[in-house]
């Protein structure tokens, strides 16, 4: 016997896990080595013994087993997306309403401040620093004192004022409203789809 024993390769050999090269090596060795052949035979006997015993017991019939499990099936866990959608059901409209209130509030406030600035309320109260300066504030300020020249300029200024004070808040309002309603409609559709698939499953 020139080679070393290949005991450690016997199990992978028996389990069909050896790549071609190694397998041929093992087979060549087995031809010449009675000890390794006996070892392999032992493993085979054990494997056969295990596979014959213990038999898995016959218990419930397939039909009864399936029926029992199906009776106990709960609702499936929701996917992360579904859970997010469900949480978002409240979060999205609330968020939109919040944005709407904040936007209107700021707009209203800035309108009041501007008007107050116009009539010189701040100066009379010693709050001159509160007077919005053009271009410096968060919101574009409207220069009410501008113009005074041509009718066209007057008109342009009126349109400007209208635009800032009315149209933009209105546009925002409409956008938020559209988002809000499309969310509700989407949610409704999602729920109907859900209950349909659940019914199909029954």
């Amino acid at each position: 016997m020139s080679e070393q024993h290949i005991t450690r390769w016997l199990e992978p050999y028996l389990d069909g896990e050896l790549p071609g090269m190694r397998r041929r090596q093992v087979e060549a060795h087995l031809k010449t080595c009675a000890a390794c052949r006996a070892e392999l035979e032992d493993l085979r006997v054990l494997s056969a013994l295990l596979q014959a015993h213990p038999q898995a017991p016959a218990t419930l019939s397939a039909g009864r087993f399936v029926a029992q499990v199906q009776l106990r099936l709960p609702r499936q866990e929701k996917t992360t997306l579904e859970r997010a959608v469900e949480r978002g059901r409240w979060a999205v409209p609330v968020l939109l309403l919040g944005v709407w209130v904040v936007v209107l509030g700021i707009w209203g406030l800035s309108g009041v401040l501007l008007a107050a600035g116009e009539v010189g309320l701040f100066e009379s109260l010693g709050l001159g620093w509160l007077i919005p300066t053009a271009g410096a504030g968060l919101w574009p300020t409207i220069d009410f004192s501008r113009g005074g020249g041509s009718v066209v300029a007057e008109l342009r200024q009126a349109v400007d004022t209208l635009h800032w004070l009315v149209l933009i808040p209105l546009e925002l309002l409409v956008t938020i409203g559209v988002l809000y309603w499309s969310w509700l409609v989407g949610w409704r559709y999602y729920q109907q789809h859900q209950s349909q698939t659940n019914q199909m499953g029954r």
């Binding site: 992978p12 896990e17 295990l50 017991p57 397939a62 087993f65 499990v69 866990e77 499953g201 029954r202």
Partner: protein, 186 residues
């Protein structure tokens, strides 16, 4: 609506249906895999009644977690993983609640037939397998009874292939010692 899921559909198709809440499709999956799942659990915990319950639990858990299954590995192997964990839970519970004489090694029924059964070959093998450490037994069961490859066992049990080999080797060594008297007669 949809028809009765049939034998023609693949496991993956049925899983996709079941993921949408289709209980019929899941029923077909149970029908297909019941025997093997019960077998795995039975060989892990050695008690037919416990195995049936644990196998049912395993399917229910699979249904709950179905959205987490990705069809990279065969559905069956994913089920095996759940079944293994259920079996180990059952064993743990049994051991915690059991007296020393009442370990799962002992046959649950202690009538006159039970003692005769204990001398029988199948019973000896059953006890020898049950006496293995859980980790080695899990590998052995998947290899010898379910014919999984080392790689599949490694994936199912979430252990390296090298560990699969060493645990399998250890299990076989212990079994050859325990079953030596029986094996000589064969």
């Amino acid at each position: 609506m949809i028809g009765q899921p049939g034998v023609s559909e693949s496991d993956e198709d049925l899983v996709a249906l079941a993921k949408t809440g289709d209980r019929q499709a899941f029923g077909e999956l149970i029908r297909r895999h019941r025997e093997r799942v019960v077998g795995v659990v039975y060989r892990m915990c050695g008690d037919a009644c416990l195995a049936e319950d644990a196998a049912q639990d395993a399917f229910i858990q699979a249904w709950r977690k179905l959205h987490r299954y990705e069809p990279k590995a065969p559905f069956q192997n994913w089920l095996y993983r759940i079944a293994m964990n259920r079996a180990l839970d059952v064993l743990r519970r049994e051991r915690e609640g059991a007296d020393v004489d009442d370990l799962p090694l002992a046959s649950p029924n202690l009538g006159p037939e039970a003692s005769a059964e204990r001398t029988d070959l199948g019973e000896q093998v059953r006890r020898a397998v049950l006496a293995l450490p859980d980790a080695s037994r899990a590998v052995l069961v998947l290899r010898e009874y379910e014919d999984l490859s080392y790689r599949e066992i490694a994936e199912t049990l979430d252990i390296p292939v090298g560990t699969v080999m060493s645990r399998l080797n250890y299990a076989r060594k212990l079994l050859r010692t325990a079953l030596a008297p029986v094996m000589e007669d064969l």
